[in-house]
């Protein structure tokens, strides 16, 4: 363990935190946890609520799994993790019901369904069971935040196009009710609030990401190609020069 710590590169914590947000974004890159991403993104507020609850569960379960990683036998680890996750989900559910009942009724059964969200179990299995508590906490924070940002991105388009603007204060009632109408009433596309709209928005976002990725790969390939041609030319010139020099020497 000590040796491992010594070898740790500088800035690992930062990298560990940031990877969940961009490079390994659970929703847009790994395509995990798609059910709540489609079901709870009708409004930005619901997306924030879902993301928050999800992050809390992920942090708690990741830390506990990491603490118990040497105690849980290899053979029964999946059921053990599921029970840990389900316990935290139940706690979070009861707290939400007591203090944010509006959020509770909006998300409905999807709070319970955090239990079967592949990201939580996946992080427990892939990361928390192998790393120390602090690293697991950072990992959970990054992943949770990345997931929340992804949900907000989806909700942004769905609420903007489907309802024509944003409403805050409906679910988090401690915020004063504010409405921001961007598209005039009557011109919004209601379809984006329906399930079909959720699929379309998700598909288009993935297509845009794939487009950017393809473009980057193309650019990189082009640069490499040019570099290759340049190198080949340089080698040719060098060979020519050498031949001329040789000829001069003779």
């Amino acid at each position: 363990m000590e040796v491992k710590k010594m070898k740790r590169e500088k800035g690992y914590t930062r990298k560990n935190f940031l990877k969940g947000i961009v490079i390994e974004n659970p929703l847009f890159v790994s395509i995990l946890g798609t059910c709540p991403a489609l079901a709870t993104t009708k409004s930005i507020e619901a997306a924030i609520g879902m993301g928050l609850l999800f992050t809390i569960v992920l942090i708690c379960s990741n830390m506990l799994v990491s603490l118990l990683r040497k105690l849980i036998p290899e053979e029964i680890r999946t059921p053990a993790y599921i029970v840990i996750i389900a316990t935290f989900v139940t706690i979070v559910k009861m707290f939400t019901n007591a203090f944010l009942s509006e959020l509770y009724s909006t998300l409905g059964v999807f709070i319970s369904l955090i239990v079967v969200n592949c990201i939580v179990l996946g992080r427990a299995e892939a990361y928390a069971s192998k790393n120390n508590v602090f690293d697991s906490l950072i990992d959970a924070l990054g992943m949770g935040l990345g997931y929340m940002l992804a949900l907000i991105t989806m909700a942004f388009f769905r609420e903007l196009l489907g309802l024509g603007g944003f409403t805050f204060g409906k679910i988090f009632q401690f915020i004063p009710l504010t409405t921001l109408q961007i598209i005039p009433k009557g011109y919004e596309i209601k379809m984006f609030q329906t399930p079909a709209g959720a699929f379309i928005v998700f598909g288009l976002i993935l297509a845009v990401l794939a487009f950017i990725k393809n473009r980057k790969a193309e650019l990189k390939a082009n640069i490499e190609k040019r570099e290759k041609i340049r190198k080949a030319q340089e080698a040719k010139e060098a060979a020519l020069k050498a031949a001329v020099n040789n000829g001069g020497n003779k």
């Binding site: 059910c35 999946t78 993935l206």
Partner: protein, 197 residues
């Protein structure tokens, strides 16, 4: 007779009108992940039907005759997920012993079902809505058969998509999601079919 018709209506409602995948968003992960081939989607769908029906049959009495009398109804999620996880293991063992052929086709999908939200979603929503046993069974049956139907149809479309000429950025998942959106629009047309009762 009247009850039978109500039972049938409830099944059709949860199968077509309120389809699991396209309007309730349960089980999107296997819907996208295991639908590249018709055969594997069929296997996944049948396994889900199996597990959902068994889970409904077990979870309803568990909640009403064990958790409620014991005064711990808030532990429903923990209890259900344990039931589902062990059920999946048991079904796997059972099929392996009695029908190795079936195990070969279903076996690899069984572990995936534990984290399929459709199973827990059905059990949980049955409890949350306070449905009776027969209604729960109808809901479970309708939901799971609806899942089977939609994943098989979707995989048939995806096989065609594979060989069609799609823009490069849309290859794979994006075009599949757009397809699912069009399917959802088609299923929205069924919403006027029955009044949920």
């Amino acid at each position: 007779m009247n009850m039978f018709i109500a039972f049938l209506l409830a099944i059709i409602t949860s199968m077509l009108v309120d389809n699991v995948v396209l309007s309730r968003f349960y089980g999107i992960c296997p819907f996208l992940g295991v639908s590249k081939k018709v055969k594997s989607s069929l296997g996944m769908g049948v396994a889900v039907v199996f597990v959902i029906i068994l889970a409904t049959v077990i979870c309803w009495p568990l909640y009403n005759y064990v958790l409620v009398p014991a005064g711990i109804p808030y532990l429903d999620t923990v209890a259900y997920i344990l039931v589902i996880a062990s059920l999946v293991q048991l079904v796997g063992l059972f099929i392996k012993k009695y029908s190795p052929g079936l195990y070969k086709t279903l076996g690899i999908y069984l572990p995936l079902i534990t984290t399929n939200c459709a199973v827990l979603g059905v059990a949980q929503s049955n409890t949350d809505q306070g449905l009776g046993f027969v209604e729960s069974l109808a809901n479970g049956l309708g939901t799971s058969v609806g899942f089977l139907l939609i994943i098989v149809v979707f995989s048939c479309i995806r096989v065609r998509l594979e060989s069609s000429n799609t823009p490069k950025a849309f290859k794979g998942l994006p075009i599949a999601l757009i397809t699912a959106a069009i399917m959802a629009i088609a299923f929205m047309g069924l919403q006027g079919l029955f009044v949920r009762g």
